[in-house]
C-alpha cells in the first residue's frame, strides 16, 4: 500500500481564491484522494455551534402556540441553558404549577412579568424575580418550517 506523495500549497483565505490547492505528485492507484482531506476537521457540528455548555444545556419540545409571535411554534424544539442568569427580555422556561412553561421575562423596577407572546394568554406578575422558579433560559429555537 504505497501512499501517494502529496505537495501542499496553502494560501491565505480570501473571497477570491480557494483556501488551498493540493496536487498529487505521484500517480494515484485507487481513486483520487479528496482535495479537502488534509483540511477537513470534521463536518459542521451543530452541537458545537448551538450549545455553549453541554453540561447545562437541555433540549425540550414546545406544546402550544402562546409564543408564536416570538417565532416559537407548537412542536418546535428549543435549546435551553440552565446555567444562564435570566435577563430582561429573555425567553425563559419557568416552572408554573409544577409544569415547564415558556414565557418572555420582563424585569421592571416595580415588578417582574412573565408574558406570553400572544394576547390570548394573561400575564403573570410578581414583585421580585426570586418569587419565580426559572428553569432555564432559551438560547435557540429549532423552528419547523
Amino acid at each position: 500500500m504505497a501512499q501517494p506523495r502529496t505537495e501542499l500549497v496553502v494560501r491565505p483565505l480570501s473571497g477570491e481564491s480557494l483556501p488551498a490547492i493540493l496536487a498529487a505528485s505521484t500517480a494515484v492507484q485507487a481513486g483520487f484522494p479528496s482535495p479537502a482531506q488534509d483540511y477537513f476537521d470534521g463536518r459542521v457540528d451543530l452541537n458545537t455551534h448551538l450549545i455553549k455548555d453541554v453540561n447545562s444545556t437541555f433540549i425540550v419540545r414546545v406544546a402550544g402556540d402562546s409564543m408564536k409571535n416570538a417565532g416559537i411554534s407548537d412542536g418546535d424544539e428549543v435549546i435551553v441553558d440552565r446555567a444562564l442568569t435570566p435577563r430582561d427580555g429573555d425567553v425563559v422556561v419557568a416552572v408554573l404549577d409544577g409544569e415547564l412553561t415558556l414565557k418572555r421575562l420582563y424585569i421592571r423596577s416595580e415588578h417582574v412579568l412573565l408574558k406570553a407572546e400572544n394576547p390570548r394568554f394573561p400575564d403573570i406578575s410578581v414583585d421580585t424575580l426570586s418569587e419565580l422558579t426559572i428553569w432555564g433560559v432559551v438560547t435557540r429555537c429549532l423552528h419547523h418550517v
Binding site: 455548555d53 453540561n55 447545562s56 402550544g64 402562546s66 446555567a83
Partner: protein
C-alpha cells in the same frame, strides 16, 4: 461559574501537599432528584423509584423515607396505599439517570484534576486549600450542579476518604451547614462530640455484623474506634478495620480510584500507565475491563441492567480536556462479558477520538441484582454475534463454552422493552429525540 471553578483549581496547585484534602460529593436522593428535573410537580412530594420490572423500591426521596417506606420493599405491597398518601412511583429510567450522572461528573472535573467516580451519584475529589477556601469551593460545587442541572448535592470534606464520608453525612443531616461540611472547620472537642454521637457502624466500610464484634470489645462509637489501639484492632479485625481507624485519625490510607463494589453498582476503572491514543487501543482496554467487571458480577451471582462507560484525557495536559461518558441499557439484565463489552464499545468508541491522550477509562454497572431474581432470563438470553475480539474472547469461550459467543443477532439495545414491565417510566428526555420533555406554551 466555570471561571471561578478553574480558579480554585489553579489556586490549589500552588498550595502545599499538607493542605490536600478529600471531598465526597453526592447527589441527594439521586434517582428521585433526576425524576424531578423534568417534572417539577414532583418537587416536595414523596417519590420512589422501582427496580427493573417494577419489582421493588430501589430509591426513595426523603419525603418517601419520612412516610416510612423502606428500601427494597416490593411495590405491590404498597401500591394500593400509595395514592392515599400522595406517594408517586417511577419505573427506573437508567438512561436519564446515566446521562445526568455523566453531567455531574463532568462538572466535578472542572473543580479537581483528580476525581474518582465512586458510583453513579458520588465522587471523591482531591482538593487543596485552607479550611475556609475548601468550604467556599464546596459551595461553588453545590451551586454549579444546582444551577446547571437542578440537582441537589452535599459535599463532605476531610483528610481521608473515611473522614470525607463522615463529613458528607454531617452535611446531609445538619441543615444548618447548608449542604457543605469540612471537618477541619471544627475544633477537636467538637469532632470528639460528633464521633461520640455516632455508632461505629456509621463508618464507611464497617458492616453491621462487624460492628457487633467491635461492640463486644467495647467499641461502640466512631470515637471509640478512632482512639483504639491500632495493633490490637489489626490483630482482632484485620487490616481493613485498622485502615478505617487510621483514616478516622486523618491519615489518608485509601487512595483515590480503583475497583470496588457499592450498593447496587459494580465498577471497574483505572488510570493508565501510558496514555491510550487510538480507538483500537481503547477497544482493547474496554475488552479487558468488561471481562473484569463481569467477573465481579458473576462472583456475586448478580446481573446488571445498565452501564455507564467513560474515558478521559488529562485535565492538565496542554490539549483540550475530553471526557466522554456514555450509557447503555440492557434489554435483559446480564453479567455476560461479551454483552457488556458490546454495549460499552458501541456507545463509547465512536466518542473516542484517535490522537487524543486518554489517561483513564472505566465501566460502571448499574441496577445490579441477584441473577436468581430474573427467572425469565434464560428464555431471552441473547445469543452473541461472533466477532474478532482476540484472545480475550477465547478466554471467555473457554470459561462459558462456545455457545456463549455463537452466531446470532443480539442487539443489546434492540426493542425488547416489552419484556420488561416499566409502566411508570418517565421520558428519556436527554437521550431520545422522540422523548424530549415538553415545555408548555400557554
Amino acid at each position: 461559574m466555570s471561571n471561578s471553578a478553574s480558579n480554585s483549581v489553579l489556586d490549589s496547585a500552588s498550595l502545599p501537599e499538607s493542605q490536600r484534602r478529600i471531598a465526597l460529593v453526592d447527589v441527594n436522593s439521586f434517582f428521585a432528584s433526576c425524576e424531578r428535573v423534568f417534572d417539577p410537580s414532583l418537587e416536595g412530594k414523596p417519590v420512589v423509584v422501582l427496580s427493573n420490572n417494577d419489582g421493588c423500591v430501589v430509591a426513595l426521596s426523603k419525603e418517601a423515607k419520612a412516610l416510612g417506606v423502606k428500601m427494597g420493599i416490593p411495590w405491590f405491597k404498597i401500591s394500593a396505599w400509595a395514592p392515599s398518601v400522595g406517594l408517586v412511583a417511577k419505573s427506573s429510567n437508567y438512561e436519564l439517570y446515566g446521562d445526568l450522572s455523566s453531567r455531574v461528573m463532568s462538572i466535578l472535573h472542572e473543580f479537581s484534576a483528580n476525581v474518582e467516580v465512586y458510583s453513579v451519584d458520588e465522587a471523591f475529589l482531591e482538593l487543596k486549600g485552607t479550611p475556609e477556601q475548601l468550604v467556599a469551593i464546596g459551595y461553588e460545587i453545590k451551586e454549579a450542579i444546582q444551577n446547571k442541572l437542578g440537582l441537589p448535592v452535599c459535599v463532605g470534606i476531610g483528610r481521608s476518604k473515611t473522614q470525607a464520608k463522615l463529613a458528607n453525612s454531617g452535611a446531609k443531616k445538619s441543615a444548618g451547614l447548608g449542604g457543605v461540611c469540612n471537618l477541619d472547620t471544627f475544633t477537636p472537642e467538637q469532632i470528639d462530640h460528633i464521633m461520640t454521637a455516632l455508632p461505629v457502624d456509621n463508618i464507611w466500610g464497617i458492616a453491621r455484623r462487624l460492628s457487633k464484634r467491635l461492640n463486644s470489645i467495647g467499641i461502640h462509637t466512631i470515637k471509640d474506634l478512632r482512639d483504639a489501639d491500632p495493633v490490637r484492632i489489626k490483630k482482632k479485625f484485620g487490616v481493613v478495620v485498622q485502615r478505617s481507624l487510621y483514616e478516622l485519625r486523618g491519615i489518608d490510607c485509601i487512595k483515590l480510584e480503583g475497583e470496588r463494589l457499592v450498593k447496587n453498582q459494580v465498577m471497574y476503572s483505572r488510570s493508565f500507565a501510558t496514555p491510550v491514543t487510538t480507538r483500537k487501543q481503547m477497544e482493547e482496554v474496554l475488552a479487558v475491563y468488561a471481562q473484569r467487571v463481569s467477573k465481579r458480577l458473576r462472583k456475586q451471582g448478580s446481573v446488571a441492567g445498565a452501564l455507564t462507560c467513560f474515558a478521559g484525557t488529562s485535565r492538565f495536559a496542554n490539549e483540550p480536556f475530553h471526557s466522554p461518558y456514555r450509557n447503555a441499557v440492557f434489554s435483559v439484565p446480564t453479567n455476560d462479558p461479551v454483552e457488556i463489552l458490546k454495549a460499552a464499545s458501541s456507545v463509547l468508541l465512536n466518542c473516542v477520538e484517535d490522537g487524543r491522550k486518554y489517561v483513564r477509562a472505566g465501566i460502571m454497572l448499574h441496577d445490579v441484582s441477584p441473577k436468581s431474581s430474573h427467572q425469565y432470563l434464560d428464555l431471552f438470553t441473547p445469543i452473541h454475534e461472533s466477532r474478532q475480539l482476540g484472545e480475550v474472547l477465547d478466554t471467555v469461550m473457554e470459561k462459558h463454552g462456545a455457545f456463549s459467543i455463537g452466531l446470532g443477532a443480539a442487539g443489546f439495545k434492540s426493542p425488547r422493552h416489552w419484556e420488561m414491565k416499566r409502566e411508570m417510566l418517565s421520558l428519556r428526555a436527554t437521550t431520545r429525540w422522540d422523548e424530549l420533555a415538553t415545555v408548555h406554551a400557554r
